[in-house]
Amino acid sequence: MKRKEFLGRLIGELTNFMLEGNPLRLVVSLHQEEDGAHISFFDDIPRSKKELDKIRKSLNPKTQRPELAQYYGQMAGHDMAWEARLNLIGWQIKQASVSNTDSGLQIDIWLGSDAFKPENFTLDMKI
């Protein structure tokens, strides 16, 4: 999949998720490198520990599911009318971290080629 469409879908689905909380502030930050990308999402609504665990679990599936990612993953970011489905994203990314900042929720996702190493990325990574 072309990089632009892929990023657009992931940003769309995660934005849909964060807008469900009706935040007053939402920031999306993208940092691309040749073999991968890092996207950060920030809002102003802190989540409970249970909610954070649920988001973390959806974005970090136990196993890779290429058969689901390639086919059904195409629905990510296309549909803003119903609730967001973070598992559609989880199958397609390398890694995600989820935490509360001083003001609200922060979600970081890393994506890239098979050779992509999130730990070598120039931005700090929180897990």
Partner: protein, 423 residues
Amino acid sequence: MERTEKSLYTIMLIFILGLAVTGLALDGPVTTLQGFLHLQIRGARLINDFTQAGVGAAMFNAALVGLIGLTIVFFATISLSGPTIAAIFTMIGFGFFGKTPLNILPIIGGVWIAARVTRNTLGSYSLIALFGTALGPVVTFIMFEIGLPLISSIPLGIFSGLFAGFILPGVAGSILQLHQGYNLYTTGFSCGFIGLFVSGLLVASNKMEPMTIIWNTAAEPALYLLIPILSVLLIISALIIDGFANIRETLTELRDLQKLTGRLPTDIFDAGTAGSALINMGLLGLGSSLYVWLVKAPFNGPVIGGMLTVMGFGGFGKTLKNVWPVVVGVVLATLVFGKQLSAPGPILAALFCTTLAPIAGQFGIMAGVIAGFTHLFMVETTAAWHGGLDLYNNGFAGGLTATLIIALLQWYRTNRPREDFQV
């Protein structure tokens, strides 16, 4: 491979081998193999009940079709879980009325070529390859029923299958956006779309023949018993996998599974335990057997195919809670339009309408009943559009119904004045 996945492979292998051995034992190896070879040279468009040619041959054919599916899952190194189990059960089911090893392999080959061209693995496209075998009749119809000499019709049939398989991934992705995952047999919708063009081409070339219905009404004990026995075996396997000591937890998981909407892609094996998912499949099998018995429909190839598909999707979106409103809708429509519940169209619609279960799961009982009601009169029309070349005709009709309902609901939801910005 995890222990649970090994157990699932064992269950699938026992089922497939059991089916093949039963087939060989029922009619004897020679008669079964002769019948099996005879099935390979049929056009196999809808509705072509393979049990009419021999129950043993149909079972043996279904087992081989299922074995091909299981082999692909194994070598594509993808999980044997809800989606892949649904695909293999569906393939086995349609091995009773349309799919043969001969007509599915070119389709799978075409999807594999598409994967190579786009630099993806077959694993990534595996579900499209497995479900895409619904277009198998395109291959055998062109090979054996359009009146060309075999020396040209056989290569043409293979090429057509490869081409249909090659374009399927592109079509399937776009079709999915139309119904947003509310039609479980979404590849059937895509195959029907492609089938429209193939059928149009055949009509334009004066090569299309009218559809016929081959429907076995003979009482066959092996077919009566197949689904109930399989369902009970699945339930017993579930208790073994999860552990008899953990039965309370398994039943709690089963209860929680009923809360799922079932919208694609809901892997029920991931959402609960493997045991709870297998019990869900078994209960759906017993429920559908009970329905077929109550309406006095024959337990023939297509009906067995329908029940196996319902069971398979018990691992991939269907639960007892989200299927019944849609079935009620089909039953109501059947009665309103003065049809018989046991007639070919209504009985198959009652089983396969469960493709729309996510609508009931997400939007409630009334939406499910409306979807089922609409589905019946649509499904009886759509088969003629693609000339019976798409075996998942209910997936095609279900896709149209889901698209209509979702379009209307989406329009309503995106125009809620109370949630707009204040002027």
